[in-house]
Subunit: 354 residues, 4 copies
């Protein structure tokens, strides 16, 4: 496998399987002198962890981060930041039923085909547990790019959709409800809906909207590493993501240029923001916003027909402790990946001019 | 600027401005022994070039590719393939009106901010002329990954949308009409619509759908370089792209897991293909399909208020020879970027097992 | 800091300071199915560790490796191999005398200049403790590239030099003596010499020769990543290394072409091996051999005048537990870096041909 | 083939064979605003070109560089700088005698083994003609890192060796003599020697010393990308190089620490410079100096026994126009690679601190 490193100047390499001794990562390229507050990192991790509310998986994983290097006297030293989260609640025997069988719409089959065998426990490397390492690194990235503010929230669960989510001006309710939706009425509706889905032994997808404010002009490298292209890769690399759009997105494809163009004010800001804060792959100082679509979790509490590794049909019963809807817990992951992208481009942008 | 290289094993580095002497690229990592047919490359280039029909820009650019290295006796030698397309029809004086002013929803403003100055002629590096180099490299990539078949086509222009585009089974009409839509009736409607938009001095966006068939199981590197994540970056790096979705995409976010899961047949194929041919970031052998949203071209034949580089309001008149709708010419670009991604993962996949 | 990753297909990223909680690394790109024997890794680590003989530092560091991911059922799974070595014998207070002062010919001064401050304990990231992670990864690389045999040994200590070290045919005595010199008489002389140097409160440099046998034809990528160029970088990246030469090396510069050229046998082997097993940057199947020069350890048990971080002259007394000569313990490090280079080129070579 | 890109922030990708239509390169990562003087580039190229004196090959290759992109109004724009040198004097038929046979100590045999076939004309990609592209890029790099001064010169030809070459203080004679040796008496002796070698139909090796002055403190990335390690790779990647040493080099391995350590002056400079301007992989502000050993050119004007691609013994006659000693023409190549390394680390160093 390759592809476990993200970023070119501010780089994160992650390792770890769902049920191995530990997972973790190495950040290489963090400049010296960034204040690193471990409590802040742990808080971001806690927003992602299982068991935090009634509508997410009830697994108990404390997900405590230990930093092994690169921080001294409360600041980054410029050397690689190695960190580890020990796995403490692995119940490997929960997974013996999938050892030889392939869960539908999971990575079991393709892993066996690609690698010849797999660590089947909890999905191994394909488990979304890997994203815990991203949250740690993203939290450090946020401290590097302050005062940029990154806020993600749930804008759709199944068919329940918050209209014009990018126009949300009050973020205060997001962390006050288990769905992480900024609108109280919609949040309540979504919560009820998710509970019903769980009762049905089913799962449901959703959409996360993310907004980044105070981004300076100039981030992003034209051509292949356009800001929105790398953001797109970052989001699509999160487990269960099926789509990404920024600014006017897919709806913008239906518009005419005369309606879509963002006209300038004299200070260089724009009167509208169909561009989503990015023009020609470079941030223009306006809010960056984008939507990320998540499919329904593949593990359902219903029996499904599938095949085993001999190609024979078997019936698989849903087992274990899983999320009925992944988007509430994915909010901090979306923020983390956004922070990693912006941190990387912040450093790369230092070399734009002589 | 950085970010002018795409791929990790099969890599393309491009260079060139719209109105400089030439643009081109270098492919590093093409294995020795791939038959390279220059006529095939030129044909792909011709599908992208201006002036090929009545509904695209009437600029005349022959876009003839010259290969400078890496090919000997009709085959790749394993050494870097350097190639060049000379710019022959530059009318730089067409662009003196934008030297000091910023076209709305173009990259002029952010380039000046990021680099301190810019080659303003024809958009310089931010021009979509750069994609000619991608088409050359993509055409070579296609020859490497044969018998994979990649077919893109227009599935929406403005509000005209082809339903279930991924289910299209007959591709024969695509190159028979200037819109590159596989459905004759819809193609005619779209053509009429684009002509009207041009008459209005306006532009319109659209959507391209792309399908890759015969892709072997195993392409894609889990975690950050998931197959669909890198495809997403590839597509979003094309000028004017605003969104990317694969498989069930944004619509999939509204579904339940019991409806969305793709159940297996005994041969490892799946009964449905909401996964879009990718599970856990790895191709599963089913058709890969995805949609790419393009915004309306920013240059319109209407006067717009904008600012100059002193922050003063000026009126800009639309000038030059531009596309009213970019999707017909973008079809070969989407295919080229798809081929580059699949070629890269084909080579990387060779190292999956001992 | 960047530059903590080595390799392009088989990559190692390391982290960790001398006196932090732990050091470690992540291998990304190891194919699935490589048998991983932890005892073998630990044995290589033990050859590097302090305290193993009377002529090396008497610090006690058990250097026990823990593998956190990427290995399942005794084989690599293809996923990243994360590993950690906890630091157990840090005596940070040993280093308060260097907190504000700069040891001559150490990295203290340049770290403060480059990063603004430094983790001064034991040299922090500039400590050769970092190489423990390389030995772990190199040991895994050796298991990947079997049956390639890599053997390094000491060929010079101070002015004591083994003539024609590359011609050594019997390696059996190398691990039988604390100097790791293959020649018994010379080994004894070197041992006595090192003991005298230590008694003098001084240190001395040396040379390590390394030979790789059974290397297949074709490893190495011409132009910038020539096999010997990357080997050179690998060796020069080891602490205290001052020079690298392969094949005829510096002596070859004094020869004429008629004497230097290696003529072919009919089977493609060569009658002589001034090329050191590499032609045009590609292995030719003959033994690869090279020499690596190490400077004397900078920490001496004598008082030296130096400056503090205010630019004032201070006297520094030698303290702590240090090696009088680094080459005996550097032998497994040279082997490890050689293995990493050969593993990387083995994987890259899989893409030479269609 | 991979490995045709050098550098991580200031990157050069080269392409081109000896006898193809053209060779060239792309620089990605040059900041905007660097004054680019084409005459200066051409002058550096002229120092490398064949036919410039009586002691080098008499081939006539004008080696005129054309810049295709990335420069506007006399300055770098920040976009990739693409450049080309057309091959104008290819006499491919000179090489039909090596089409099926393997020249001793050349890359012919390993290319055929690795790639299955090769462009045999003039050595193809393995020809030192490729270094012309490096000289172009190095010349641009020099303009970026001004006021750093890089000066290389010949310090040995065969057994004729200039003592203490790093102590040379007067560089004025270097470009006044065809050998590029700074000492008039030694230069004359070397010139006579080279002429005799050529008369003998033979070739001879040599050593180039390079000194970089005015290098700021802080360049180089510890661990794998130590300044001297990357310089080593850079030098060893030049055709015919067999060894690299910096500062005290191999001689330093024979010294004791008490003699080798560089003591500080109160301003942070050192009283001696055994470190060669680099400590812990980071420049310390003192002169950087190093030696590069070149083997004798493999093509000699004598008949040699060798094998053909069927493994049969054949006699090969020396033909064509070749250098009897490569070091005089390699001086600008050594300078160019040094400049590329320093330019890359200059940009990377911008991210050392917050």
């Amino acid at each position: 496998m390759s592809g476990n490193t993200f970023g070119k100047s501010f780089t994160l390499t992650t390792f770890g399987e769902s049920h191995g001794p530990a997972l973790g990562g190495v950040i290489d390229g963090c400049p010296a002198g960034v204040p690193i507050d471990i409590d802040t990192i742990q808080k971001d991790l806690d927003r992602r962890k299982p068991g935090q509310s009634a509508i997410v998986t009830q697994r108990k994983e404390p997900d405590t981060v230990e930093i092994y290097s690169g921080v001294f006297d409360g600041k980054s030293t410029g050397t690689p930041i190695g960190f580890v989260i020990h796995n403490t609640n692995q119940k490997s025997k929960d997974y013996t039923h999938i050892k030889d069988s392939y869960r539908p719409s999971h990575a079991d089959y393709v892993y066996d085909q690609k690698y010849g065998f797999r660590d089947y426990r909890g999905g191994g490397r394909s488990s979304a547990r890997e994203t815990a390492a991203r949250v740690v690194a993203g939290s450090i990235a946020k401290q590097l790019i302050a005062p940029v503010q990154i806020q993600a929230f749930v804008s759709a669960v199944g068919e329940l959709t918050l209209p014009n989510p990018e126009a949300t001006s009050d973020y205060s309710f997001i962390e006050q409800n288990p769905v992480r939706c900024p609108d109280a009425a919609m949040a309540a509706e979504m919560e009820t809906y998710i509970k019903q889905v769980r009762k049905d032994g089913d799962t449901v997808g959703g959409v996360i909207t993310c907004v980044a404010k105070n981004v300076p002009v100039g981030l992003g490298e034209p051509v292949f590493d356009k800001l929105h292209a790398v953001l797109g890769q970052a989001m699509l690399s999160i487990n269960a993501v099926k789509g990404f759009e920024y600014g006017s997105g897919f709806a913008g494809a239906a518009l005419r240029g005369s309606a879509h163009n963002d006209l300038y004010n004299e200070d260089g800001t724009t009167k509208t923001n169909n561009s989503g804060g990015v023009q020609g792959g470079i941030s223009n100082g306006m809010d960056i916003y984008f939507n990320v679509a998540f499919k329904p979790v593949a593990t359902i509490m219903q029996s499904q027909e599938t095949i085993d590794n001999k190609g024979e049909t078997v019936t698989m019963e849903g087992k274990g402790r899983h999320d009925p809807c992944v988007v509430p817990r994915a909010v901090p992951i979306v923020e983390a990946m956004t922070a990693l992208v912006l941190a990387d481009f912040t450093l790369r942008n230092r070399n734009s001019k002589l």
